[in-house]
Symmetry: C2
């Protein structure tokens, strides 16, 4: 096989993806050679639950919402992904149909890597597998924290925690999803979320200058809620 | 380095652990060479939250309960592990102190693998990393399912689901943990769990012949609850 050298190809999203960050330029070229770029328009579905195609998707640009439909028919938002995040690993690592569905929240560019080729790459370049392990162990940790918070905490606690997490230390939070999706992710109705946000605003802890934007007025007060 | 051949060593728990199952006997010998066997008595703590030692624990015999203490001081049971399961991967993959604590529910034997040595092994034998990826992706899936169930379902649903999951198709379920721990894992008080189990018994779906044992009397009735 001829391996493209670094003048022959544009590694595109490959070079931006944490799980490939330890590869040399030449090795990235090998990954790029088996990767297809895909554009998905805002509102389009990337994949559906039940599908069995084995592909890993890595986001280059844009945001994607991952949801599941429960047995009772309710839709629950699981995560919102951005550049560098990957999805679909379960279908690659196990012979299982997808259990979730993915929808583009913005116009997106993503890399699509066929499952078997990815496994072969991980055998050749174990650093890819190690980076993916780091990512999945972080996700396990985050899910356990959410589970614990949802079981043992009030809606106020969950909302204050989410605002602080999303803020990343800044005082203005632009929600990466709709309020309905945020409510779903926090395990409450949108009405409860709106009511509690108004309470936090009345208490002088936050305000909401425009739809989808939350400004933290009193960070230590907000931290005291959690 | 001299690699022990298969007559020189007893791979012990290494040979029983799924993440090492693709290795040859000689390769298992290499893993065994850096692994320490540890015995932990029933009730003893394997590790505490906040500790920073980087070690992966793989259970050979016995059961271990993993719990977390929430910021409000409540203890929540996260998982109960058995032979072949591993714990502590977050401290190995990330430079993070442990966020959970582990307690032996029975007398246990486990393999302790130093974190750096494990990473080096994964670089040499990528199949170990791939198996660990499979395990972690399964755990992500299970946690997402639990999160969804806890947010959108009644205590009856969660209990019926847990009994059916634990039964593995058999009609008698011996709980692998105390009722208090099961209640914690299902996000309810022990009183709620006991009351709902009594209701299911009165409805003729289960009975409880002895402490810690649940017999499924009417499986399809129980399935109808979920």
């Amino acid at each position: 096989m001829t391996v493209p050298n670094h003048e022959d190809y544009d590694p595109g999203c490959i070079s931006l993806v944490p799980i490939f960050s330890d590869l040399s330029l030449q090795e990235m070229g090998e990954v790029a050679a088996i990767t297809q770029e895909r554009h998905v328009s805002k509102g389009e579905t990337v994949y559906f639950a039940g599908r069995t195609e084995k592909q890993l998707f890595v986001i280059h640009q844009g945001r994607v919402k991952i949801s599941r439909i429960s047995e009772s028919g309710k839709v629950q938002v699981i995560r919102v992904l951005g550049p560098g995040d990957f999805m679909g690993e379960l279908s690659v690592l196990h012979d299982m149909p997808r259990t979730d569905f993915a929808e583009a929240l913005q116009d997106c560019t993503m890399c699509v890597i066929p499952g078997e080729a990815l496994k072969t790459l991980m055998q050749r370049f174990p650093s890819i597998a190690l980076k993916a392990l780091e990512e999945l162990s972080t996700r396990v940790e985050q899910l356990q924290t959410r589970l614990e918070q949802n079981q043992h905490s009030s809606p106020e606690y969950r909302i204050a925690r989410a605002i602080l997490d999303l803020s990343g230390g800044s005082s203005t939070v632009t929600l990466p999803m709709t309020k309905g999706d945020l409510a779903s992710q926090l395990g409450m109705t949108q009405e409860t979320l709106s009511r509690k946000l108004s309470s936090l605003q009345e208490a002088g802890l936050i305000n909401q200058p425009s739809p989808g934007v939350i400004r933290i007025i009193d960070r230590s007060g907000l931290e005291a809620v959690i």
